[in-house]
Symmetry: C2
Subunit: 202 residues, 2 copies
Amino acid sequence: VAHLHKFAPKRRTIYRANEAYSSVAFIRDGWACAYIPLPKGSRQILSFLLPGDITSAAAVFQERSETSIEAITDLHYFTLNKAQLIEALSANQKIFNAFCKLWVERKSEMANLAADLGHRSAEQRIARLILALLKRHIERDLVHDGRFPFPLRLRHIADATGLTVVHVSRVIGAMRKLGLIKIERRFLTVLDLPELQSIGNS
Amino acid sequence: VAHLHKFAPKRRTIYRANEAYSSVAFIRDGWACAYIPLPKGSRQILSFLLPGDITSAAAVFQERSETSIEAITDLHYFTLNKAQLIEALSANQKIFNAFCKLWVERKSEMANLAADLGHRSAEQRIARLILALLKRHIERDLVHDGRFPFPLRLRHIADATGLTVVHVSRVIGAMRKLGLIKIERRFLTVLDLPELQSIGNS
DNA sequence: CGCAGATTTGACAGCCATCAAGGTACGTGG
DNA sequence: CCACGTACCTTGATGGCTGTCAAATCTGCG
């Protein structure tokens, strides 16, 4: 399969909601996010995309997506156009199944996001976001002593949790003062995992 | 295909989250809802299921679902077990495609739900819920003079919008007083569609 | 009629948004 | 190396939306 390598600087939008799209992107390096644009210029971030992730598993069955994709850091990725993707899926049953699994996972993540936004406090939402990112980095074996890459700005956390930047700053500040986490030089360290989990799971 | 007809009285749970499930239900008559149970006894309703709807399009690829299904009204439905479903899907490409389309739709509904819960006011969320139900009933040709079946209790609206019953009561009450809607004998009438849309779309 | 569940209303409190100002980090060009 | 601009972060003051608690009324049903 021909790989089309691409690059986008941080803050660049690589897919725009409601425009026809004919390709799917695989992240090679850097972070991106998928979000729904909302009136008044705000947005709801639905998921963060890490190296190895795919932008949209649903591409095969929809003309256009209602989500935009934006680079958070400088981003290296490559794309498959829809025809190539369909070919790959029909050629190999295993790939097809993996794709469907991924799809189900995404849906279930989204459901949990809705539950979080509807029923949890700011502190809980932020704790759960951090814990989810920690878990994904543990799976990739990228965590050492609770420390992992964290290029998110408060703006991203705010857009993902449905809060304002100001309030995110307060909550993160409080977590820092309580010795739960530490953020420095684009890395986050979880200092008190049990307490963070207890906040998130209540 | 053998149809296994079933009945559940209102308020009965027909699928329980995190239990293995081997069948998928098609609603024949009545309303149900899919929800995520949360600690402290609350829940997030993800979708309302109307006659013709299917409980879960993802059944084929997951052992257990994290959502429960509960009858809102007395409910008539039938089930296909997983083997039957897989057979039907592989036998007919059209059915398979329809299923995938449905799947994508569900995911996109969920994404919009997350956006609503994260970024919209109580009034907007409730207006949008009513408008979404209106739209689904228009598609089924079940709306006459803006009036359609509405068996939801305030509790359901509250659980779907992430609000409390008390607050839902206030907002619905205000909408009634403003002449936007009317609810009586399990039917809802939209009296001022443009205004309701303008509230929902801001 | 009586009871359980549902709805409505009032009083009050708390969480989070908004507005505003000042501080910090970082890249760019002189 | 320094000046400067832009984005980003922090902190305080204030207010509004929505939750919580409580009690009264209503509805449906046996």
